[in-house]
């Protein structure tokens, strides 16, 4: 046999450095970690709230620390990046066809942003 196909090995650990688009993908995936930690934080908040006003105040104080603020900011950025990157691909994942045309992608994306704003306003209203 004279055939001898050559297989180019791919690094299992740092393959995503090979392409900018893979880096962007990894960035999107990494944002999950912040969202995960933030969710855990919320569970703690509930636990402290259940333990009484004192415990809750202590929790809030901890959040007010520079580290807490920094984390909150980072989590916000991560959540925004994660959400917008998802919004931007929704026309691909959930195309809407009306007769002989597809609804333009920017309308679908726009509807997501619109929904986001509305929900945020409701939360804000309830919070205040």
């Amino acid at each position: 046999m004279s055939r001898k196909p050559y297989i180019r090995e791919i690094s299992k650990t740092n393959w995503f450095f090979s392409q900018p688009r893979y880096m962007r993908y990894m960035a999107r995936e990494v944002t999950c970690i912040f969202i995960l930690v933030y969710t855990i934080l919320l569970v703690f908040a509930l636990k402290n709230l259940a333990q009484g006003p004192e415990a809750y105040a202590e929790f809030l104080e901890a959040l007010n620390s520079p580290l807490g603020i920094l984390f909150n900011l980072a989590a916000l950025v991560a959540a925004v990046y994660h959400s917008t990157s998802w919004f931007n691909v929704t026309p691909q994942a959930m195309p809407i066809q009306r007769g002989e045309e597809f609804v333009p992608g920017n309308i679908i994306v726009g509807a997501h942003y619109g929904g986001w704003v509305v929900i945020s306003l409701i939360v804000l209203f309830l919070g205040v």
């Binding site: 046999m1 004279s2 055939r3 001898k4």
Partner: protein, 586 residues
Amino acid sequence: MEIIKTDVAIVGAGGAGLRAAIALAEADPKLRIALVSKVYPMRSHTCAAEGGAAGVIKSDDSLDLHFNDTVGGGDWLCDQDAVEYFINEAPKELIQLEHWGCPWSREPNGSVAVRPFGGMKIKRTWFAADKSGFHILHTLFQTSLKYPSIQRFDEYYVTDLLVDDGRCQGFTALEIRSGEMRQFQAGAVIIAAGGAGRMFPFTTNGAIKTGDGMALAYRAGAPLKDMEFVQYHPTGLPNNGILLTEGCRGEGGILLNKHGRRYLQDYGMGPETPVGQPVLKTMELGPRDRLSQSFWHEQQKGNTVSTRWGDCVLLDMRHLGEKKINERLPFVRDLSISYLGMDPVKEPIPIRPVVHYCMGGIHTDIKAATPLPGLFAAGECACVSINGANRLGSNSLTELLVFGRRAALSAIDHLQSGLPASKDAVLAAQAQDSAGRIQALFDKNGGTESISGLRSEMMHTMEEGAGIYRTGEGLAATCEKLAELRQRYAGIEIHDKSRVYNTDLMQALELGSMLDCAEAAAVGARDRQESRGAHQRLDFTARDDQKFLKHSLAYYHPKEPARIEYLDVVITKSQPGVRDYSGAKK
């Protein structure tokens, strides 16, 4: 050498080969079918066909009208019994393809849409936007995956037919990836390996269209028929010959010379029709031979536009509007923008005629059988002939379906005719000879000729002598040149000595095929002292039915030029008449 035993072996896995394979598998699931091609099926050149496939479907159409268009379009060189069979089968085949999932473009009510095409009196060209051949090929390929009895041998180059006892019993093929030879034994062989447009320098044809199937049959003793008829498509991109479909004109595109005149009216295709309202079978919807010849005359008169790619005329589609172009001609727009940097929505596109199709090919009868028992042929490599001296656009996609299936049915008949057992030792000896010829190419050192050099000389002489207009003198020179090139071909050397995926070797073999086909075409053209359809002689300007209402048959000789014989055309109900594409006709 490994022996692969099959019932039917098919050479070529484009439209015709796939259609044949499916027909065989459907007819009898127990048949062992080998589908052998030098490329993966979806690379076959059927994929590049754009405009559509003709078949009578609408209520305003009739089989007789399709018959008349085809026979007149072919300048009465078509075999009329074959044309009749073809037009009868055409609608069935196109519906069959629809049932297999082909995404034909549709009317608002859900029925299949048809578009106007050159030389056709009624709209009857089924289309899938402007990628009809692509969709037909992929539909056939994907459908073929349903049938386990179709065994594919992708990227195998067939080198020689095995002929014993007066019948074709298989072939030898080179597995390209390993460089190893295989012997295919088969009760019947179908050749469906496409045309030979690559023997010309400027062609719409892909690199694989090198006449290998034609040369296989030719060398095994089956004649090539009507090879002198080579179709120039009138609208190719001037820089690289990329095809812009006849659908451009079917949808209403117009052709202009440098003065902005729709010059076709000056060549018997007038009077001028209103822009954007194409009238069937006149002006821009005239047949391809006439349109390409009109270009030549315009060029002689100095009416063409000079571009950096040579003389052109303009294809203006702007009046169709962006919406229609995007819906009906999206590929044309993409190709023009990508390869020429010009958008047909915004500007006229410079185009010029480009070699597109071989009307000629392996001589077959109406049943797709060649004179060599056990050998059948279909598609562009074959000549039945339904195309005569000039093929009408959109008949060839239908042809490969109709005659692909026909070849399969004939192959089954042949198998059932009680074939005597084959003599393995004889076939093995032939296969060894074939392998020996390939080995000799590898072993040879110190060649005097380069493959690309010979190829470009061949292309050049074909364009010089056997182009749109030909002369006896020019053809004689081309014949002489080709004879010389065939001799010099013995002096080539394969520099790549590797067995694995050796494209140097492939190109050498392909060049050999093209040289044989080119010579058959040139000799046929030299001897046909008349002008008919795509074969136009400046020294014999009239059609001569007395002498040449005949098919030419070219017989191979390894050293001598082709020997030409003639065969009467089958005429059943349409006597040769005048081809009238003027709008004034009744």
